[in-house]
Subunit: 199 residues, 2 copies
Amino acid sequence: MVTRTDAPTRREQILKEAARLFAERGFHGVGVDEIGAAVGISGPGLYRHFPGKDAMLAELLVGISGQLLTGAKRRLAEADGDTRPSAVLDSLIEGHIDFALDDRPLITLHDRELDRLRDSDRKLVRQLQRQYVELWVEVVRDVYPGLSEPSARSAVHSVFGLLNSTPHLGRAGTLPGRGATAALLHRMARGAFEAAGEG
Amino acid sequence: MVTRTDAPTRREQILKEAARLFAERGFHGVGVDEIGAAVGISGPGLYRHFPGKDAMLAELLVGISGQLLTGAKRRLAEADGDTRPSAVLDSLIEGHIDFALDDRPLITLHDRELDRLRDSDRKLVRQLQRQYVELWVEVVRDVYPGLSEPSARSAVHSVFGLLNSTPHLGRAGTLPGRGATAALLHRMARGAFEAAGEG
DNA sequence: CAGCGAGGTTAGCGGTCGTTAACCTGATGG
DNA sequence: CCATCAGGTTAACGACCGCTAACCTCGCTG
């Protein structure tokens, strides 16, 4: 993991706050003035960093999908060939959980505001998402050969729903600690796949 | 199940179309003129049936939460006492799946547009949701006594995420049929709880 | 030290949207 | 047969919002 020590750029600040606000109140529910205020500048100042409000959402969504896919490909490559399929699946699950726990606003945006994108951006995001899903499907079918492809795809989407439920888990107060939560989610995901494979 | 034979009232038409549009493009992304057009009347004509756009969303969300809770209570009462706890859980799961498969737009709205409500409405919806969750938590802990209450609550939220993933499953074309999908979701939910209980 | 570009500011334009006002119409019932 | 009312219509208002224009102010750098 590459740990950053330098301060975040203004651009990164903006993206982070925009993600939080979009997740809280929806893309159309947030004004540019609010995003500006959240980083200490006022509305139109944002246009020195982004060509428009849409561009912020686009960059966020493309970034998320890209990160997820890249991470999954890396994990797949690291396990290259010799490892048990089940370990690869565990690695994918772990990666997705890390993401879901560390970037809850992004997880929220990811399946909520996709339709607010320009056509070209939306197509790009969907393509990245599809690749990510297909990658999971192959790994899952490797572990549970009894699953048909449509069933595996449904199962993968459902497990994403399970893992992406993190924003609904109490606001960090009532949670039994990050490690325990991650472990619980991991077990449940495996259990769900297991049960799907027994059809 | 009470089957309706009479035609839907205009009011019901409006709610149904509004739900669909809100789910597709978000509450703020849909104009009253579009909602009107969807039922064959024009924008302001809606105000003969609802005091405002907010009221439609409110009625939808309160209705959903209420239906879910009522259905769950009924199922719990029907199983009263003598049945195995595991059968009660199966009944809850079945009810939730029916809802998730039959009313996808509502499921989408349910966890997406809650923050767009007036304070009083939002409190009401949250209270209904909380009761629904607590009802599940008790049943789950009855079946898996090893689960702590916080873990059970997390597990319930996660399974909701799993079951509510139906809008992401292909648009009825690629799906292996409703029965098969319901069965798959049911198995996965049970598998997830099972795995959670083994912690 | 002049000049310039990066990164702000405020004022304001143009469009959209929720809502209201005023008006119309056809069915209903005394 | 007329009054009423439910359920529409169009016009328009006021607020808000994304974005642009015009201007300002530093910190560099030749």
